[in-house]
Symmetry: D3
Subunit: 163 residues, 6 copies
């Protein structure tokens, strides 16, 4: 059985992430969407909120298991028996960061390979950061996020807790 | 069974290509290394020479089938039942060309996905063009190419036909 | 009256070019689509064929005048009274070339400014080179080129002269 | 009448911004220099200080109206009847961010086009961030900023409020 | 006597930095490794800790003088009689930042030139930021840092002060 | 004595090259400007013409020795006792090519280091290719090339042999 992990902060999950997962589903039997505890910055959604939004958005994907993790993504990959780490590639700036990450991860864990997917051209320059920025200024981004994420953002902006 | 193609001109095959194939072997049951007929430029080796050097370099890889092809790589992929096209990613300039190719191929054939691998840092900036250039000026590149390719290049420079 | 030129080789014109022209039409009263005599490489279509395909593709755009030119684009711009040169921006590699061109043109002619437009995300990585390459290998690219260009390419591949 | 907006944080305005405005003035009848309320980070100057420095620096430009705005720049553009958003392009990293912004803005508001200008080579790598950094370490940057901005920075470093 | 400075935050010093210093040692008689007081962000190690780790890591390099500095690096260079500033170049994103810095420094001090070195391919994508990130998540990076830095990080993570 | 080589095709030499040489002169006692025999493409000037234009342009630089070379630049460097190879860095696309070259050269010859200089912002995007292109279309580029190169190009365009 071919197992992969797809780690990230998913703050929040976008249609670009789902597009990458759909592409990866062709190859893998099981994919752990691994939501990182730490985000390195102030997140819009809490860890549990982020996990729940991923679960809701992907509830019909049988191959995908949404889970949280702590520590290094390579350690989590080993724990669940994954041999591949999936990453989406968008822009050039993205690419260099991903390259350095892939090389570091290879150094940390030789048994794990990184595989990259390019999303649909519609999502090529889409990022969670951009989504948060536009939404916080009142913009509509429904083409770029699942329905449940839209609802969660609206609640969040009104100060309602998402569970 | 998971089948992929790895198309290219392989003029000649380098250790960077072989590194990408090794990484891809983790995921796929069969990989067609597809040597393109056209190279878009004057090639150092003929199509048959390029195919033979790939076969020699990869003779111990059971999952890999070396073959030549004509026309669009997506058409060849469909013919052999591949669902994924494998590509190596090196530098930023590479990345943009690969991105445009992946988007065009997606447009030409919706059932085929492109998957990218980053080679070992040692091969990050390695290209067949660089190999040909250095060798033609008398440089040694043995760390970067299989033994049989080295022999073939030496013969080629002495004007001996490789078969 | 605000006049611009949009110089290029247009070998052949694509929907990406037309998208840029549509965007520029918001600002300018007259736009000279200036087809360069020299292409710096072997062109697929002759100068007259390229001009004719542009005329056919843009026959309903009242603001656009298709014309050929020789020499420097800045000299042509001065001749027709243009104050702005329009350029499309696609990828990063594109950007740097365009940047060096804009700086050189500014040096050659201080009265002319360069203005850049980004095409629709669908055409972001589209180029005439890619079109020629895919078509010559038998691929279909109808989403990316006007109908008349498609017909011309088909004729061209059958060896029929386009007029 | 052709109206454009030129949104930004202008913290502080530099000669690079003014260069872009001069270039854009060739094409537009009215340009709203729109100073964003939010800066996404701790700003050196307050919103009012930033607006005032822009006004002082541009007081002889009849076509330019300095104003502050809140929310999305596309909404502000619609409010003032602008059909074009002006942006300066400096480096490659800049370019990708600007590209993603232009695509998002197109999605948010189909009637607004983004137009890019490249500043004079002298200002190619100039940014407000660099100016703030150098000045805070005691460096002189008079070639890169208007006289009034220089004075304001000096006051600011002495702890005097700018009004 | 040829004197250079190599400024940075060195939080902490990595084998990539040491590789650059080794290369620069071929050309210069004396190199000031200048540890910047300000880091622009929350640093992992204090200024004194950073200086001490540099000293320990480079104690056998006779040409290198480790020192702290405040203010502009160009001013420090002038003070110690350096005519060249040394910088390492890694990725493309790095390159643009370094380019803007070199141009600004040239403007601040015409007598100082910037010289760039590319580290060994093993360290091409190595950064102090990546080191801090991986270590804080429990990863091992011994290939990339001197032994004394490893010890210091371990102490730091246990809450022990490094002196 | 510190010796460097500055290899290239110099077809023709530009003010950007001379700027790089001036910067390098601060550090080195002797610099071999090494004009490559092969250009990899059709050159505008013959090898002897290129050497002569370099000699004329640099006749007052005592530290610089203009010479032609054949084969690998690292071999030439060893022959003349150089420990450093000088290269100019302009744009990002340049940077990646230079990076791959520096890594390959390090592999070919471990005793030689590559050192990069960034030219004055005026010459940042200047290239011999751009010069040839503009001149062949009738443009004036006197700010970018030495007087003797200008004369040589004019002669060349009239069909007169340069010696």
């Amino acid at each position: 059985m071919k197992i992969a992990i797809y780690p990230g902060t998913f703050d929040p999950i976008t249609n670009g992430h789902i597009d990458v997962l759909n592409k990866a589903s062709i190859v893998f039997d099981k994919i752990y969407l691994a939501v990182a505890d730490h985000t390195g910055k102030q997140s819009m959604f809490s860890l549990n909120e982020r996990v729940n939004l991923c679960k809701l958005s992907l509830k019909d994907h049988e191959k995908i298991i949404v889970t949280k993790f702590k520590g290094l993504s390579v350690d989590f990959a080993m724990k669940v028996g994954a041999t591949v780490m999936i990453r989406g590639l968008r822009a050039v700036s993205d690419f260099e960061y991903e390259l350095s990450l892939a090389l570091m991860n290879k150094n940390l864990c030789d048994e794990l390979e990184t595989m990259f997917f390019v999303p649909n051209s519609k999502y090529l320059y889409l990022s969670s950061t951009m989504i948060r920025q536009v939404v916080s200024l009142g913009g509509k981004v429904l083409d770029y996020i699942p329905k449940c994420v839209e609802t969660a953002i609206k609640k969040k902006l009104k100060g309602v807790e998402n569970e």
